[in-house]
Amino acid sequence: MAASNPLQMSTSSTSQAVRTENLCRYYTMGGSTIRAVDGITLAIERGEFVALLGQSGSGKSTLLNLLAGLDRPTSGSVQVAGRDLARMSSEELARYRRNDVGMVFQSFHLIPAMTITENVELPMRFAEVERSERAQRVRESLERVGLGKRLEHRPSELSGGEQQRVSLARALANRPSMLLADEPTGNLDSRTGEDILNLIRDVSLSLGMTVVMVTHERALAERFAQRLVFLGDGKLLSQEALA
């Protein structure tokens, strides 16, 4: 199945999904400057599964947020489809997050008051998807992550693995071309974590979707990712391509 919502290429055709150029993100905290991301240049191919590895505080989550357009770089650029996220208005960034990116978090971040169906529907509300289309697309997303039952339950009534599946279904709701996952297995036992990563890989393969995953579990990363990127102190330490 082809990607249903590919990024439009405005410049000369390239196979890159996203490329950062000397990307920096500094914070000032109590008078001192923290260089969370410090001059990272990184290119990620379309359809590639990349794992960002590093100790906590290495800047991997900050990099992910910059790729997601949730955070703005202090300097440098994030090129997506020939456009620089650093120069987008907050409205354009919102549109980018809504249409081109799906996010999965360690603690799922589902809305507790909403049912499973409603949680998956929520991004479609922001994307102004016609109401008549939504039920079909919600079902499609949930089927893709293997959930067909208890759809009118609240997230708290589900197991951790099931909640992460809902979260993944929500990330897929607007058919993004890139999935950004921040420690998706961090709150799951190892078997459930593997299930989720299997699922992410399958979805990625079947939809041709780029995946960038932040993790500190090297063993898992080696099993599922095509490339490992090691970060430390906000810098890119090394890269390792896997077969």
């Binding site: 949730l70 919102a94 997050r97 978090f105 008051a113 922001f126």
Partner: protein, 461 residues
């Protein structure tokens, strides 16, 4: 985000903390209710007052009195007129002159004399006044039991209910259709009015020496007469809202009958003393068009008479009610101002509580504007609900006020009056105002929610 999604999410969020949002909404409704109750009270009182004036049928009427009479009524004016005895009197010549002024349709005297009604062997005193046939159309009185006069000179009478009770305490209504006897004093000019020789006592009092003029010796007799009258109806209240000379009576005759009977008036005595011919206490000048009242009033003032029209009364009345409405509005708004603080508080709490939710929504594609609009929608929804509830509450308060005053008036033997009237425009305006105020209160919380940094809100797990 589309409107229906916005509304759906807003209502969903409001339902999340029912108690808090419910209390805030009740707060708004109390504010709206107090505003509505106050303004409706203002409107009701104003309508009550103007209805009284309109009922007096005086919007097209100028009342004319001589400056010789009723001194002290207008002190400022009295100061200017140092010699009231020189002021012109309301005689037939003046009446005729007024009748020929432009736009004047009719000039009628207001006749009010003392009289007696004999019924069932008993005699009852009361003031007798003449009502024109136009009194019926002018809504001069609200509750007429029985019928109005058949003709303007019919031998008929309408009684004030208090007076009817005096005649027949057990069943005053039974009087309708009965014959009663009116005793009154008839004004009879002396046969030899211009001949002073027949009255030595008058010539004996000549001291000024200027009384060679035969006109000075004007005089009249008052002769007791009786007239059979049929009781046509009974009214509860004085006609014309009790605001005119003719309304202050208890026995009402058709105006032409009073003229025909030629009753002796108080002013006759005075006219006699002053040596004028017959004069009137008050003339009622009816104007074709209420818009011309001021013009006619000026013309009559030029003739040297004192005038009064409702125009004068309504001018100050309107000013009074504008100020009253303003004050009532301010007091009513105080509660709404407090409610505004409650909205701000509630929404700021909601922003703090839903920090993470807001971050999640932004992460999955909500723009700052979406978040802002969502909080606005919540504020607006509370405002709308509060407004609707407030109208209902205000309505209940108003009904209670009306019932309360009704009971009070009834206990004082007065007919019930609606002092509290909610005009339809106020319903729409109050709800709209409530929504606008709520949206203004939502400004700060909404922009605060929109400014939240999603990275910060999602950071701590």
């Amino acid at each position: 985000m589309k409107g229906y999604d916005l509304l759906d999410l807003a209502v969903r969020n409001l339902r999340q903390s029912k108690l808090r949002n419910g209390l805030t909404t009740v707060g708004i409704s109390v504010g709206v209710a107090s505003l509505v109750a106050m303004l409706s009270l203002g409107v009701g009182l104003q309508q009550l007052a103007t209805k009284r004036l309109a009922g007096s049928g005086m919007f097209d009427t100028v009342f004319v009195t001589s400056k010789q009479d009723f001194r002290g009524f207008d002190r400022e004016q009295d100061q200017k007129d140092q010699h009231p005895e020189n002021a012109p009197v309301l005689d037939d010549a003046a009446r005729d002159k007024m009748a020929h002024l432009q736009y004047v349709t009719e000039v009628e005297p207001e006749i009010r004399v003392m009289g007696e009604i004999v019924y069932g062997g008993q005699t009852h005193y009361g003031f007798v006044t003449g009502l024109p046939m136009s009194a019926r159309e002018n809504e001069a009185f609200d509750n007429l039991q029985g019928k109005f006069f058949s003709r303007s000179d019919a031998d008929e009478v309408i009684l004030l209910s208090d007076f009817a009770k005096e005649l027949d305490p057990s069943n005053p209504k039974a009087l309708i259709g009965q014959q009663v006897t009116l005793r009154y004093g008839e004004h009879q000019p002396l046969a030899a009015d211009s001949d002073t020789s027949g009255r030595p006592q008058l010539s004996g009092e000549q001291s000024g020496g200027s009384n060679s003029n035969a006109g000075d010796s004007y005089g009249f007799s008052v002769v007791r007469k009786t007239q059979q009258l049929k009781v046509m109806g009974i009214i509860d209240e004085e006609p014309y809202g009790g605001m005119r000379t003719v309304s202050r009576g208890r026995i009402f005759l058709p105006v032409d009958l009073t003229a025909k009977l030629n009753m002796a008036e108080f002013s006759d005595m005075r006219s006699s003393l002053r040596g004028h011919g017959r004069t009137y206490m008050t003339l009622t000048v009816r104007v074709k068009d209420p818009a011309k009242v001021a013009q006619v009033q000026d013309a009559i003032k030029q003739m040297g008479f004192r005038t009064f029209s409702v125009l004068d009364a309504t001018k100050s009345l309107r000013r009074f009610f504008t100020v009253l409405d303003l004050f009532l509005g301010i007091f009513g708004s105080l509660a709404l101002a407090v409610a505004t603080l409650a909205i701000i508080n509630t929404l700021v709490m909601a922003v703090l509580e839903r920090r993470r939710e807001i971050g999640v929504m932004k992460a999955i594609g909500a723009s700052d504007g979406d978040v802002k609009r969502l909080f606005f929608a919540e504020a607006g929804a509370m405002g709308f609900l509060g407004g609707v509830l407030g109208i209902a509450l205000g309505f209940a308060i108003g009904k209670a006020i009306n019932i309360g005053t009704g009971i009070y008036l009834h206990n004082h033997q007065l007919p019930a009056e609606a002092v509290w009237i909610m005009p339809p425009w106020l319903i729409g305006a109050a709800i709209a105002f409530s929504i606008v105020v709520s949206l203004l209160a939502g400004l700060y919380p909404a922009s605060r929610a929109a400014r939240l940094d999603p990275v910060q809100t999602l950071k701590y797990e």
